[in-house]
């Protein structure tokens, strides 16, 4: 956070006004996403011992990690609201839109984390790529720059990245005091919801495969 502020806000002077608020409003939800995905990625491998001893469904392991990182993020979000208030961004009626944005992000976190966690037992070396992938996503999601500064013809494509879109939603609500693109949010929510359902089915199909793959 301090590094971003110093490099982009002070040295490159790219931040614009209220760069701290802008950065915080993006970093907080980003950290939730990245910590959940990186901590979940090896959860099934970590649960190998237990899965061998007890016939426990594999979905249990990623879910525990997601729950942990989500609970840890709650005080961080509260702190974000406090700091934003301190910086002059007081709650408006629009903040009610945070509820669906948080819900869609939770679905996205579950979807991405569970997919990564399910892939890693089959392709163990992927574990080394998770953090690289997260860094790549961070750069593509506008955590520390405003997407409106990229060429206009790329902006729509940029927002197809669900993380970039969600971060933009948070900023629209918290900093601009406006509603985000509800239609886009609804479509993303529906896709993530359907994805989560598919993940549930996938995990129940793989129920007896995971213990075998882990011991092979």
């Amino acid at each position: 956070m301090v590094v971003f502020y110093v490099v982009f806000g002070l040295l490159l002077n790219r931040g614009g006004d209220n760069y701290i608020a802008f950065l915080l409003a993006g970093l907080t939800p980003w950290n939730w996403f990245s910590k959940a995905v990186s901590s979940t990625s090896s959860s099934i491998i970590g649960g190998q011992q237990l899965m061998m001893q007890i016939g426990i469904p594999a979905i249990f392991f990623p879910m525990v990690c997601i729950l942990q990182s989500t609970l840890k993020q709650i005080p961080v979000f509260l702190l974000l609201f406090a700091v934003l208030g301190f910086l002059g961004f007081l709650p408006t009626f629009h903040w009610i839109a945070l509820v669906p944005v948080l819900a869609v992000q939770l679905l996205l976190v579950i979807l991405v984390s569970c997919v990564v966690a399910a892939l890693i037992p089959f392709f163990r070396d992927l574990a080394y790529l998770v953090n690289t992938g997260l860094t790549f996503t961070m750069f593509l999601s506008g955590v520390f720059y405003d997407f409106e500064k990229i060429p206009p013809e790329w902006q729509a494509t940029f927002l197809l990245n669900p993380v970039a879109f969600l971060l933009n939603c948070y900023r629209t609500i918290l900093l601009d005091g406006a509603y985000p693109d509800i239609e886009h949010l609804g479509i993303l929510g529906a896709i993530c919801g359907a994805g989560c359902l598919a993940i549930l089915i996938l995990y129940s199909r793989l129920r007896y495969i995971f213990p075998r793959v882990l011991s092979e």
């Binding site: 011992q49 237990l50 001893q53 007890i54 016939g55 007896y208």
Partner: protein, 233 residues
């Protein structure tokens, strides 16, 4: 008497290696195993290292499914005596007992009601309320076994775990296992200790080369196993 769990010509193979460039090979852990498990009996499983005994227990407990043959569980709960399942080193022995007991199918209440018994059985004293990470290996094993004494599935699977702790505790552990076995508990036990098998079991199965090659009286099966190891040498 009808079997509560039946295995018919069950085979399990594990994938070995295999990638885009190398051809996939398989390890046939079990090729054809047929066993019936009856209510109330104590069944011993013997076989050399790598004969597939642990794989067999995983099959019976329902952790994996066979590649061939079929396995039928007629509505009984099975659990592998899983010592130290889900232990969190940062939690106290007491919390780990609750956690591990619940993981093995007890309700929270059942475990909590028996916490004092577990504490006493494990002989951990004050250590029971201290984090498990400071325990010695033996203390950990004792706690694990103490938790296991309270779980009561229809069929209990035991994989080489009776050698727990020092001599005194080992005798105590075997005594309580004996108590469980003498009660109507159905037990399947894997052990390399011939003495244990012949002392504890009503029936024994010999697994060799992935095949259940003998079933019957422990003394007869053990004799066959002896002959087999002799001829291998």
């Amino acid at each position: 008497m009808s079997a509560i769990i039946s295995l018919q010509n069950v085979g399990v193979r594990y994938k070995q290696g295999g990638s885009l460039i190398r051809q996939r090979r398989y390890l046939q852990a079990l090729s054809s195993v047929s066993i019936d498990i009856y209510a109330g009996e104590t069944l011993g499983i013997v076989g050399a290292n790598g004969a597939g005994k642990s794989t067999l227990l995983r099959l019976i407990s329902g952790v994996i499914k066979p590649n061939s043959g079929w396995i039928e569980n007629r509505g009984v709960s099975v659990s592998l005596l899983a010592l130290q399942a889900g232990f969190d080193p940062n939690l106290s022995g007491r919390d780990n007992a609750i956690l591990s007991g619940m993981l093995q199918g007890c309700s929270r209440k059942t475990v909590e009601n028996q916490l004092e018994d577990i504490c006493e059985y494990s002989e951990l004293g004050d250590f029971f309320d201290r984090p498990v990470r400071i325990y010695s290996t033996g203390m950990r094993a004792r706690l694990g076994f103490s938790i296991a004494t309270i779980i009561n599935p229809d069929v209990l699977l035991i994989d080489e775990v009776l050698g727990v702790g020092d001599k005194h505790f080992r005798e105590k552990a075997e005594a309580s296992m004996l108590l469980k076995i003498r009660s109507k508990q159905t037990v399947v036990i894997v052990s390399h200790s011939m003495a244990q098998i012949s002392r504890l079991c009503d029936r024994a199965v010999l697994i060799n080369g992935g095949i259940s090659c003998a079933t019957g009286e422990p003394s007869e099966v053990l004799e066959m196993y002896d002959n087999l190891t002799m001829s291998a040498q």
